[in-house]
């Protein structure tokens, strides 16, 4: 049977990818950001998943304004890193697990979550940065070391799906993975956040106290975390902080009780608060 053994929350700040691609992670500005991921890479090495189910958002790369699916699952054999305007990131092509992806799509849709199915899709920094963080430097010809099933969530055009909807989708994904007959170790990632606002006169907003409370709540009181409404995310964490609804998908797919094995929080990476959690399942 396939099993979800861990959940990983991770910001996907593009500048983190740029710092890795340029090899400047030792610079004083970046050193504290990457220090907090050292444990994660070791842990990841010791707990190698077969498949990563990666919840992220596309930043008008695969989806511009012409099509805005709320939830889109990647069922392709592979996903090419996209050119976001500076040339594609120099990282490997992302390989999918087609059989598991279509099993999840079918199961979740029958469970009344109407996903969009993507049989071709390019992926942007939202997906590749968390992989780089967890798997370290990988060059274009390399292997990522895991298969990946992307789930893109709309958080660009208001309204994003609610925190509660995301949490319940996580539960449906859990049921789908639990019912897959092959033995597979699966990790689920919730990416994006934490507090940040990229636009207009309030740009640069950070709310560290809120972020830390959110992490506590997500770990120990997910039933409270899933009740956070959009206006609270927008007001308290900045217009782009709404990305944190994606962490709820990850949390919904885990057990009621989880063990927090790692937490990292740092301000800033560019305009953003970096947050990261590793949560282990026991069930």
């Amino acid at each position: 049977m396939a099993r979800i053994t861990a959940g990983i929350a991770c910001s996907h700040v593009p500048a983190i990818g740029v710092a890795m691609d340029k090899g400047i992670t030792d610079e004083p500005y970046w050193q504290p950001v990457f220090k907090g991921f050292e444990f994660s890479r070791k842990w990841n090495e010791e707990n190698k998943p077969d498949v990563v189910f990666l919840v992220y958002n596309d930043h008008c790369t695969a989806f511009d304004s012409s099509i805005i699916p709320t939830f889109a699952i990647g069922c392709a054999a592979e996903f090419t890193p996209a050119d976001e305007g500076f040339g594609p990131r120099p990282v490997p092509v992302v390989k999918g697990h087609q059989k598991l992806a279509s099993h999840i799509a079918q199961s979740v849709i029958l469970d009344e979550f109407d996903l969009t199915i993507m049989n071709e899709m390019e992926v942007d920094h939202g997906l590749t940065v968390p992989l780089s963080v967890m798997y370290g430097d990988r060059k274009p010809g390399d292997d990522w070391g895991t298969l990946v099933i992307p789930l893109a969530v709309n958080v660009v055009q208001y309204p994003a799906p609610t925190a509660n909807r995301c949490y319940n989708l996580g539960k449906a994904i859990r049921r789908a993975i639990d019912s897959y007959p092959e033995d597979l170790n699966v990790h689920i990632y919730g990416t994006g956040g934490m507090s940040h606002q990229l636009q207009s006169e309030r740009a640069g907003l950070i709310n560290a106290e809120w972020d830390q409370n959110f992490m506590d709540m997500l770990v120990n009181e997910p039933d409270k975390a899933r009740q956070i409404d959009h206006i609270e995310f927008l007001r308290e964490t900045g217009s782009e902080g709404i990305e944190m609804v994606m962490w709820l998908v990850m949390r919904g797919a885990l057990d009621e009780k989880v063990t927090e094995v790692h937490r990292h929080y740092h301000v800033p990476a560019s305009n953003t608060a970096v947050g990261h959690l590793i949560l282990e399942n026991h069930g």
Binding site: P14, A15, Y29, H59, C60, T61, D64, S65, S66, D83, E84, G85, F86, V156, Q157, Y158, P159, S195, Q197, L198, Q199, S200, E201, R202, A203, G204, L205, I206, N207, A208, E209, W210, H230, I231, L234, R235, E236, G238, S239, E240, V267, P268, S270, N271, A273
Partner: protein
């Protein structure tokens, strides 16, 4: 028209369906600049490239002026307008500084010191008092 509870957040344009509708062609123009062939077309003849998108005259003027907050006001979304900034060679953090009327160094220092604080920045009424 439904009420928008997020309208009282200061210095923020929430990109909702109304803004998306108004800004559709502006955003599609901006995102075209993701690809080199379109960047080349815009470099060669800015007006001709803009005319491929059904933008309003106001939107075109805001593009010409590189008036970053005005672009958002006219329905632009930051993930889109930042492609225009990138075309000009402006990095995201410097764009953020420009939009919040700060110098590059002051903005960078604010971020290193923990970012723009939430206190006093939740409601428009808090800004009006200043």
């Amino acid at each position: 028209m439904t009420e928008k509870p997020y309208e009282d957040i200061p210095g923020t344009f929430v990109f909702d369906a109304d803004r998306s509708r108004e800004g559709y062609w502006l955003n599609q123009f901006c995102i075209s600049l993701r690809l080199e062939k379109n960047r080349q077309a815009f470099r060669d003849d800015p007006e001709a490239h803009m005319s491929r998108f059904a933008m309003s005259e106001e939107q075109k003027q805001a593009v010409r002026d590189r008036d970053w907050n005005r672009l958002l006001e006219l329905g632009g979304n930051i993930y889109y307008t930042s492609k225009l900034a990138a075309f000009d060679g402006i990095v995201f953090q410097d764009l953020a500084a420009m939009m919040s009327h700060m110098s590059r160094d002051d903005y960078r220092k604010m971020m290193v010191d923990g970012g723009r604080p939430i206190e006093g920045n939740r409601y428009k009424s808090e800004w009006e008092k200043k």
